[in-house]
Amino acid sequence: MNRYFYYSFLYVLLINIMMFVPNIIIQNRYSGGISSLLLAIPFGTMLALLFSSSISRFPGKAVPEILFDHYPRWLVVPFMWMLAALYFLGSTIVLVAFSVVINRFYNPDTSSNVVLYLLIATCIYCSTRTTLSLVFALEVLIIINAPLVMFVLGKGIFTSDLDWDAMHTVANYFRMPPNLVSFAAATYIFSGYLNMSILNRALPPNFRLKHRWIIPLVGTLAMFTSIFIPIGFHGTEAVDEYLFIWSITADSMKMEYGFIERVLFLYLILYLNLTLLFTTFGWHKAMEFLKSTSKSHKPHLDPEKIPKINWIICGAFGLIAIIYSGVVNEKQNFSIATVWLIIRLFAEILSVIWICWLAYRLKSKSKFKVKGQSESK
């Protein structure tokens, strides 16, 4: 069951490119971006480990159930709303950003709205599915996309076009003090563990996270490749000029002996899959959080019939996403993503501390109970 945790960790880590994480850190490359990266590694790992070990003390329960069990509704309901809004907005940012990328690189003649509507329709359908079937879909998609990720990464690393001096130059700036924007962006790479807050329902009661070293290792690797490969390709200055930095970097790679020469198209297919996956999960989580605020709601992992409320909520999500794409342009989407990353960081810290505190209390209580029982004997 461990692999499901790592799958959900992986897809969030890969989507960082669509969330403008490289753009933000590259913008701050001379002013604290690099030190923020270094700081984010222990911090992100710590949050991930704390959260996953605390939530495994509540077998089969998702965050809403845990909180509703222990706290009054007036306290938990707004928190659920906030999390739902956060997840929904995050996925929508990525979806809108990707529809623009498709419009720019795949088919400039198509309106990006048509692409967006098709993506939204797919996401509405997928996110209304049950949690369990989504978990299985996650596994399938990760396995399909892993070779593509490996290929693009390998192509990026093992090419003579990579300028190590440029990377070295930027890496020198790790001496600058970190800043909040880059730090929030960098910690995002580790935030896949938060999927546990809903997926925990699907995990078995005796779940224990194994191979924890994967989190810092893979996170660090992903972080450095997603920031330093573009710098290696485009140098220390030009790298800041590009809007779709990774699409351009993928376009700078060449497969001389492939069916198609441009790596860009492989990359776009890969990120189409990942974006759909990410948005599906984001909306599904948001939907589950919203549903949990209803009094009569009973969480069900794999209901036989999809409840109507799923369609209503996700349909509404789709509508809001359409309105969002109409109101917000490319530039605003980027600044919203920046703000979103910062708010997300604090929401993440809050939920981790909260769940940790509950787990700690549960542990000390049960210890007390055991002690009390043994004494009464």
Binding site: Y30, R104, F105, N107, P108, D109, T110, S111, V114, Y117, L118, S160, D161, D163, D165, A166, H168, T169, N172, Y173, R175, F233, H234, G235, T236, E237, A238, E241, I248, D251, S252, M253, K254, E256, E261, R262
Partner: protein, 366 residues
């Protein structure tokens, strides 16, 4: 039953999207295979845009590649391309354009606008080659080589390693050009295409500073530049030892450099080059001679010519090898200071080039 009706309806609705993409079929497109941008001497319309359009044909055989040329003078490149659309019956598509050629005159003046246009346009590949056309890009594009299989492929097969693998040809892509144009500490180098009896000669390179073309290297200098910036380059190394001509077919060449302070405290570029190769031309019975002395003599001459080339770059204030970037990478001193230091150091820096030539054999004869 109701389920089925809904499914069928859904499929119909979904298929509506298919037709409405504004997508143009492949037979309604003109594929641009090479783009030339020249200076036109007309102050109102300074850019002359030349497009080489592929005439698609089902025949694939040498000489079957036909193309059509369109030229226009315009105020800006983008306007020129848009205006050219009125000259042709199909949609222009830059997705397969692998060659962007800048006329020498424009390159000597100012090429900012051309490079910006290339990178900003979304359908242009970042892996297209950027080149300089001598005397003009238009003159080069007018040439229709006789042995071309596909329209325009003679030009781009010359670059990279798929077609010919010439040690005299420099290859630069759009992303690399953009990188070098903005990077502090490395300057662009572009191949120069010259006309030669109905075909092309690409044996020289032009070194640019951040704005314009500064020097044109001779074929020998171009090969030297290629040798010290590439790793596995099939090339040659010539020299005379005791009046006898020697030519080494280089199989592997490796160079690395450091920027150091020498014993007097003066900054020095320390370059170490290792060359392995077979003798291709040598006097009789060279097999019995002392190879070490030949190697040393060849190495000495090679080092000297490298220093001459580097000094030439230094005199013109250009840095195509990337010494400045190396200095920035290895001498961090906060903010932008190391770059400013380097600008003071570079004009007076000394070069210490040492080569080690290894002769692996004398070919098939003694």
């Amino acid at each position: 039953m109701r389920h089925l009706i809904f499914t069928v309806l859904f499929v119909f609705i979904a298929s509506l999207v298919l037709g409405g993409c504004g997508f143009k079929d492949i037979d309604k497109r003109f594929f641009v295979v090479a783009t030339g941008i020249d200076h036109s001497d007309n102050p109102n319309k300074p850019f002359r845009v030349t497009l080489r359009l592929a005439v698609t044909s089902p025949k694939i055989e040498p000489g079957a590649g036909k193309s059509q040329l369109e030229t226009i003078d315009a105020k800006t490149i983008a306007e020129g391309v848009r205006e050219l659309k009125a000259y042709v019956d199909k949609e222009l598509d830059f997705g397969h354009c692998k060659i962007f050629m800048i006329g020498e005159k424009l390159a000597r003046k100012e090429m900012d606008q051309a490079i910006n246009w290339m990178t900003r346009r979304r359908d242009i590949q970042m892996i297209a080659n950027v080149t300089i056309g001598h005397p003009t890009a238009e003159a080069i594009l007018k040439i229709q080589p006789k042995n071309e299989r596909y329209p325009g492929n003679t030009l781009f097969l010359s670059f990279g390693k798929e077609g010919t693998d010439s040690s005299y040809t420099v290859t630069e892509y759009i992303f690399g050009m953009r990188k070098r144009r903005t990077e502090k500490g490395i300057d662009p180098v572009l191949p120069i295409i010259m006309p030669e009896n109905e075909t092309y000669r690409i044996s020289q390179a032009g070194v640019l500073n951040k704005k314009k073309l500064i020097i044109i290297l001779s074929p020998e200098e171009t090969q030297l530049y290629n040798q010290i910036t590439n790793k596995y380059l099939k090339s040659s190394l010539g020299g005379n030892v005791e009046q006898d001509p020697y030519v080494l077919a280089v199989g592997r060449i490796q160079s690395r450099f450091k920027i150091k302070n020498n014993a007097q405290g003066k900054p020095v570029v320390e370059m170490r080059i290792k060359i392995h190769g077979l003798l291709e031309e040598a006097p009789k019975l060279v097999f019995d001679k002392d190879w070490a002395s030949i190697e040393q003599e060849l190495a000495k001459q090679y080092s000297k010519s490298v220093v001459r080339l580097l000094k030439k770059f230094q005199r013109q204030g250009v840095d195509p090898i990337g010494f400045g970037l190396k200095y920035r990478a290895t001498h961090y001193s906060g903010g932008d200071k190391s770059w400013q230091e380097w600008q003071g150091i570079y004009p007076n820096i000394e070069f210490d080039v040492q080569t080690r030539v290894t002769i692996e054999g004398t070919g098939l004869i003694k």
